[in-house]
């Protein structure tokens, strides 16, 4: 039984593991008992992380949504609605690493097309939404990640790799392929979103001069 939304291959069952249960307890204690349905988004995220941890593919199967619905005393349909509404919940299996390339205007102006091309070259993926043949990578197009000062951005799972270009993208993917996670953050010589090459304004010596 599959529809346009649900892939044919669904696991038969889903059980929260001990690590997830601990997280759930931490989430549920924030809501009154009769309002626990509010915890649906954190719980779906816990599902997705557990799937990533256990199977290597961080997605939310239908059976897990049913488990969440049961846990929170809500109709399964309401959980399906939430999970399908938000793009950060993957309702289909994805690769081990989720390459999310921002192609919104600032990133695009700063060369996100190169990043996309580099991803395609390094993984063999042709189009957005595809998973590489080796099952390691899924590339998706995302809207503004809110880190425009460091454009273009490549988000891998939860980490931002900033100031990317074709070369650096290939390097990140090569590292990932080798099983290592490179340090997230700016790929060039700058501190977070500070100017390249250090401070340009409000320098200690100039403060007095300007006055």
């Amino acid at each position: 039984m599959s529809t346009a939304w649900t892939p044919a291959a669904q696991p038969d069952s889903f059980v929260f593991d001990a690590a997830s249960e601990e997280e759930i307890a931490g989430v549920l204690c924030k809501y009154p008992e009769e309002r626990k349905a509010s915890a649906v988004m954190p719980l779906l995220y816990i599902v997705q992380r557990q799937m990533g941890r256990v199977t290597g593919s961080a997605w939310v199967p239908v059976v897990a949504m049913d488990v969440v619905a049961q846990r929170l005393g809500m109709a399964s349909m309401r959980v399906y609605e939430v999970a399908s509404f938000y793009t950060m919940f993957n309702t289909r299996p994805i690769g081990r690493y989720h390459l999310q390339v921002c192609t919104t205007t600032p990133c695009w102006l700063r060369g996100s097309d190169d990043v996309v091309a580099a991803c395609q070259k390094a993984t063999g993926i042709q189009h957005f939404g595809e998973t590489s043949a080796d099952g390691l990578f899924t590339m998706t197009e995302v809207e503004c990640l809110g880190a425009c000062a460091n454009a273009p951005i490549l988000q891998v799972d939860d980490d931002f790799y900033e100031d990317m270009d074709a070369e650096r993208t290939a390097a990140v993917i090569a590292e990932l392929r080798a099983g290592r996670r490179p340090e997230p953050g700016p790929a060039i010589n700058r501190s977070v979103s500070a100017p390249v090459g250090g401070r340009k304004t409000l320098l200690p010596s100039s403060t007095a001069d300007q006055k």
Partner: protein
């Protein structure tokens, strides 16, 4: 009351009303798609835009609360342009397939596009297409037509209590779906077709059969359960094409059960369309004259008290009255309308009625179901219980149940036990639910036929009555002890006194050979195998169902859509149905057949017209004098025609209640003949029998 000014005219509306309600109160028409008076407000179609003084932009009136002195304008240039723009957006992705759409002619989008649209489209791009969904055998989907008003989502969640539909994904990709492919599990799913303002959800069984303007529309009453749902029979060319509900807030609000809506194809199949007489063990077709003469000959020499009649579940009161008069005329008091062997307290009318009325559910604050499964026995009434449950909020309407539910009740029930012994615990206060009933201001007890068709029914009823008394359910202004009937004819028959007389046989003893001639008036659900071979069986009914096979003479009668009839619902409301189509072939209205036969027999009944018969019925029981919408229900009026000793109390047994309806979709001759209903029982299955403990 809050005074608002709509288009310059002042109007008073209750506080908390929406601007849309104020406009309606002022007699202004506000176009809408997502707003539905019986559902929650979604405010997502934006069609109901109006202008409010000092508001910076048009507001959606359905979700805009009124305030004192508010000025609303419904017909300004701004409003007209806003509606035109909304309509243009709605039509962007709506296909232009009205000529092949079943909703065409009764489509809100069509009508409102005509009334409020701009007449041209500026949209040149490709339209979006959406995959159709399989929602089971009753509801057909053409999802590309959907305008995402979410009425269906809200109906299934709020009214039906089966939250299986949802709006998934977002933006351009948003669509209404069950997500996982499944048939809707509601007995009210047909109402989705009514609430859908476009042709996205239409009736699957009648797809492409007729256009809405071709129907001849006749008001009638549903007989598939005892609620007496007000319906409109829509026929074309002598054939019932469709049944839709009518609005009656005292009975069905505006809902109709799936069995009432979709079993109409059963009216065309397995019909008895000519009289049959069994000659040498084989049935052969004869003329009316021959049939009636043959039957009169058989009556010859049979003493009156050796003739008996059992009435089925779909009979109109007119035919019941006629057959009762006929049998009493020849000296028989062997009458029984309880083919399921139920027991009622017939000492007063309140002994067998749903006394607090269907609308009384809205006021009740605690409920005990005793051997009743309303979801299957009366789905629309069940929706009313759910409505009360939802309105009362968390824990505001505690519901206890004795007997195992055979399906999800659509509201939280506290199953107190499976057998009537729980009643004893409730009476003694041993069961905690007794406290809940006692603390309630208007407690309600619903006794169902799982309880009344048992041997210990009198004891169960007596216990329920005592419980009702002790918990204050029987006061001057509240009668909370209710019987939920399952047969449409039952209350009418009881009102007419269609019960064994002082020395008469009841249904069971008539079946076991207590009579020589047994007249079955549409009674198919009796234990026919018990009838001894020497009993002569007359079957007057409309379907070649179980009883016609056993009959020695078959007199073809009319189904409920084919006769003008009176039906009394479970709450004692007398309602009239009108004839929508003619019976097939030689079949005739039942009471006319009985009247004709009485003349052949030489005991002519004293009425020649329906009016005379109805006047006679009003003499038998004055409740029949008052009919129609808004007629008083005479609840609890002591109009009962007691003919049976009521004090037949015994011990409460411990055996668990058994459900009276195992397969909701096939409970009577019409639904058993319906292919649609057969398909439904295949898809939805049969409720499991509760194992005796």
């Amino acid at each position: 009351m809050v005074r608002v000014i709509v288009d310059g005219a002042p109007v008073d509306v209750p506080p908390g009303s929406s601007a849309l309600q104020a406009c309606e109160a002022a007699g202004k028409e506000i176009p809408r798609f997502c707003y539905h008076e019986r559902l929650s407000v979604a405010g997502n179609c934006r069609m109901c835009l109006v202008e409010v003084a000092r508001a910076p932009k048009p507001v959606a009136s359905c979700g805009f609360p009124v305030s004192e002195g508010m000025q609303i304008f419904t017909d300004t240039e701004v409003v007209r342009r806003a509606r035109r723009a909304v309509m243009e957006f709605l039509l962007i992705n709506h296909p232009l397939d009205c000529p092949i759409c079943d909703q065409g002619g009764e489509c809100d989008l069509q009508d409102q596009a005509y009334g409020y649209g701009s007449g041209i489209s500026r949209y040149k791009e490709d339209k979006r297409a959406v995959t159709d969904k399989d929602l089971g055998p009753l509801v057909k989907t053409v999802m590309t037509r959907c305008i995402q008003c979410t009425r269906c989502v809200r109906f299934s969640t709020e009214v039906a209590g089966t939250p299986e539909l949802g709006l998934v994904s977002r933006g351009e990709n948003a669509e209404i779906t069950t997500y996982v492919e499944k048939a809707l599990t509601s007995e009210l799913s047909g109402n989705l077709i009514d609430v859908c303002p476009v042709g996205a959800l239409t009736a699957k069984p009648s797809a492409f059969h007729a256009r809405s303007w071709e129907y001849k529309k006749t008001d009638s009453v549903d007989v598939m359960d005892a609620l007496g749902t007000n319906i409109q029979v829509q026929a074309r060319g002598g054939e019932v094409m469709r049944i839709v509900p009518r609005v009656n807030d005292d009975v069905n609000e505006e809902w109709l059960s799936d069995k009432g809506r979709f079993s109409i194809d059963g009216l065309k199949r397995k019909r008895l369309d000519r009289p049959w007489v069994r000659v040498h063990g084989k049935l052969s077709a004869v003329s009316w004259k021959d049939a009636l003469i043959a039957l009169a000959r058989r009556f010859d020499g049979v003493p009156g008290d050796k003739v008996g009649a059992i009435a089925g579940d779909l009979c109109d009161a007119e035919s019941l009255c006629a057959i009762k008069d006929l049998l009493q005329g020849i000296g028989s008091s062997n009458l029984d309308c309880r083919q399921d062997g139920a027991w009622y307290d017939t000492s007063a009318r309140s002994g067998y009625l749903f006394n607090s009325d269907v609308s009384g559910i809205d006021q009740a604050d605690a409920l005990l179901l005793v051997g009743a499964m309303p979801r299957h026995e009366s789905p629309v009434l069940n929706a009313r219980i759910r409505k009360r449950f939802v309105d009362a909020g968390r824990g505001g309407f505690p519901i206890g149940m004795i007997g195992a539910p055979t399906a999800d009740m659509t509201y939280d029930v506290n199953v107190l036990g499976h057998g009537p012994d729980v009643l004893a615990d409730l009476l003694s206060g041993k069961n905690a639910f007794a406290e809940v009933l006692k603390n309630a201001k208007k407690p309600m007890i619903i006794v169902g036929h799982s309880a009344l068709t048992r041997r210990d029914a009198p004891a169960i009823y007596a216990a329920c009555r005592e419980l009702a008394q002790t918990c204050g359910a029987l006061s001057a202004d509240w009668h909370g002890l209710n019987i939920l009937h399952t047969a449409a004819s039952r209350v009418g028959a009881l009102d007419l006194g269609f019960l064994p007389g002082p020395h008469g046989c009841d249904a069971a003893s008539m079946l076991r050979g207590g009579v020589e001639i047994l007249w079955l008036l549409g009674a198919d659900d009796v234990q026919l195998e018990r009838i001894p071979p020497e009993t002569f069986v007359v079957y007057l009914g409309h379907h070649g169902d179980a009883a016609a096979k056993r009959a020695d003479i078959i007199l073809p009668g009319a189904a409920y859509t084919e006769k003008s009839g009176t039906y009394v619902n479970t709450a004692g409301r007398v309602q009239r149905a009108f004839r929508a189509v003619f019976p097939p072939g030689d079949a005739r209205e039942d009471w006319r057949i009985i009247r004709a036969f009485s003349e052949v027999l030489g005991h002519t009944l004293p009425y020649d017209t329906l009016e005379q018969l109805r006047a006679h019925m009003a003499q038998v029981n004055p409740v029949f004098a008052q009919t129609g919408q808004g007629a008083p229900r005479l609840a609890g009026a002591e109009g009962g025609l007691a003919s049976e000793a009521t004090a037949r109390e015994g011990e409460l047994m411990t055996t668990p209640f058994r459900p009276v309806i195992r397969d909701y979709y096939q409970t009577n001759a019409i639904s058993r003949a319906s292919q649609t209903m057969a398909e439904c029982s295949k898809v939805y299955g049969v409720a499991p029998v509760v194992a005796a403990e």
